[in-house]
Symmetry: C2
């Protein structure tokens, strides 16, 4: 049914059969995360935004954590698609691809800070709260990282003498650490990202 909220805007409020509640909840949660981060998302506010009662979501998601894991999983898929665009860009040399990847990683993390925190933050990963689906997705993403790292070793972009798995762990750790320090506000917002990226590239790449 249609009703007007206090701003006079006509809204379609579910009346015992929303029709597509699961998708609406996911979309609204995505918006809320972008606007204010994971901490700003509550099931009651989410339900109000979608126009249902506070416990409607429990029909589709066992609890709040499962909803958040669903969104994190979606985030990993998007992340991987965008990363692949750089990995597979044949207009660049392998060295340039790696440098571009470093810059993209920082830019992506900073421009999608709240989503990055959802994907990689404690709220989900602490106390083994991640769903099996999410763990599988994250595992896949990391396995792709190991594969591309070995490829970069083969092309002489990264040092060939290191174990591929370790190297993938440390290089991701470097980018992740810088991203977190910037996102969390420990490094200031006016830190020169380009110089940091260049320094990181100089340290990680084979000389």
């Amino acid at each position: 049914m249609t009703y007007s909220n206090i701003t006079g805007v006509k809204m379609k409020k579910a009346r015992y059969h929303h029709g597509d509640l699961r998708h609406s909840l996911i979309k609204a949660a995505r918006d809320m995360i972008r606007e204010g981060g994971t901490e700003a998302v509550s099931l009651r506010k989410l339900a109000a935004r979608v126009g249902v009662s506070r416990t409607a979501a429990y029909h589709y998601f066992k609890d709040k954590n499962i909803l958040l894991c669903t969104l994190a999983q979606e985030g990993f898929h998007i992340w991987q698609e965008e990363a692949d665009r750089i990995f597979l860009d044949e207009k660049m040399s392998h060295e340039d691809r790696y440098k571009a990847y470093i810059r993209w990683y920082m830019t992506y993390a900073l421009e999608n800070a709240e989503y990055y925190d959802l994907m990689f933050g404690r709220a989900i990963w602490k106390q083994n709260m991640a769903t099996e689906n999410l763990k599988a997705t994250a595992y896949d993403v990391f396995q792709k990282q190991v594969a591309i790292t070995r490829q970069w070793q083969k092309y002489g972009v990264l040092p060939a003498g290191e174990d591929g798995l370790r190297l993938a762990q440390v290089t991701w750790g470097t980018l992740h650490g810088l991203a977190r320090l910037l996102i969390d506000g420990i490094y200031s917002d006016d830190s020169p990202i380009d110089e940091i990226c260049d320094c990181a590239a100089n340290l990680l790449m084979d000389k």
Copy 2:
């Protein structure tokens, strides 16, 4: 006054004049963080543990965040003292000191995971919630990091060609990133820390 709780254990409950409530709250909060992390700390549980009412803490701490910042600040002091032991260890070459520092950093972060998360996590640093005192303390710790990084550049441990500030940012980012990935449970608990540290040393140190 003295009373017995349900376990029959005599407890000293404040009766409008605890005597040393501020210190007791800090100590109890420290214990709770170690036991269950920042998320497990609530002012009500804390007050119950100390034997006062739920709002007694507001006499000493404006809010919960201020209490947590106080603990984080203390954590930074302890961290710096332990780091200095390695920086100033004259029994080791500078190269060995750096490698020892990397290993110490990982070990410290993993053995003090909940405190590390308090010090470096979003709960405190997000939305500019850190107190001025905490920011000053953290700034000092980072400035010491820049100084020791420049020293390591001078001794040929780290690449001399990089800007000292950038290098400090990136090398800390590397260690921080690895620590977070391990603490948050994204890298599994059985990851071989020694190999990761060796790989990080190989990448960061001047060749």
